[in-house]
Symmetry: C2
Subunit: 112 residues, 2 copies
């Protein structure tokens, strides 16, 4: 099993998180599980990486946080949810474009 090094994904963790948030607000644990399942467990984001990404992206205005109950039962258990902002959308789209170029560039140095 080929491991993806963090130095490669670095700079795309934010993009992955924002992608999940395109489908509506979500929270840490759920997002990490989704990334895991989308990639067939090929990439598992570390908790610390994830939560520090939240802090950074909220500071940058790419996401907004709010707290809500775990279920609709109002039983008091809270979770921190995140929602993508317009600025976050813009950033996400820019990253997608950048990815195309990056792919092209790196491919020139790959030989099989």
């Amino acid at each position: 099993m080929v491991e993806i090094s963090s130095d490669v994904i670095r700079g795309y963790n934010d993009t992955m998180i924002l992608f999940i948030l395109l489908n509506g607000p979500s929270y840490g644990y759920e997002i990490s599980k989704q990334i895991k399942s989308i990639t067939d467990e090929k990439y598992i984001i570390k908790e610390t990486t994830l939560y520090s990404a939240f802090t950074r992206m909220e500071k940058n205005g790419f996401i907004e946080s709010f707290t809500a109950d775990q279920d609709g039962s109002g039983n008091g258990k809270k979770r921190t949810y995140y929602r993508i902002t317009d600025l976050g959308m813009q950033f996400y789209r820019a990253k997608c474009e950048e990815w195309d170029i990056t792919q092209e560039v790196v491919a020139k140095f790959i030989r099989h």
Copy 2:
């Protein structure tokens, strides 16, 4: 013009350098020019990044250095050349495989 962020390429600078060295020994300045021309100036490696990559890769046993004249004239002007080692070859091949997976993984989070 879309700029490639260093956080994306990070972890592939070494691979690029090794790719150049597949065609035989080379040295810093020449390698940087080749990367620039191969990528149509889409990616320009910083000098400091390049030379610190040399140090790191030599320590890791991926490359070997030797000094030689600038031209064949033996006029005393020296350059530091680098040659890829067997271990470097192995590393390069592993990185190529890793790239395939990475591409696949990241693509799942890109929407156009």
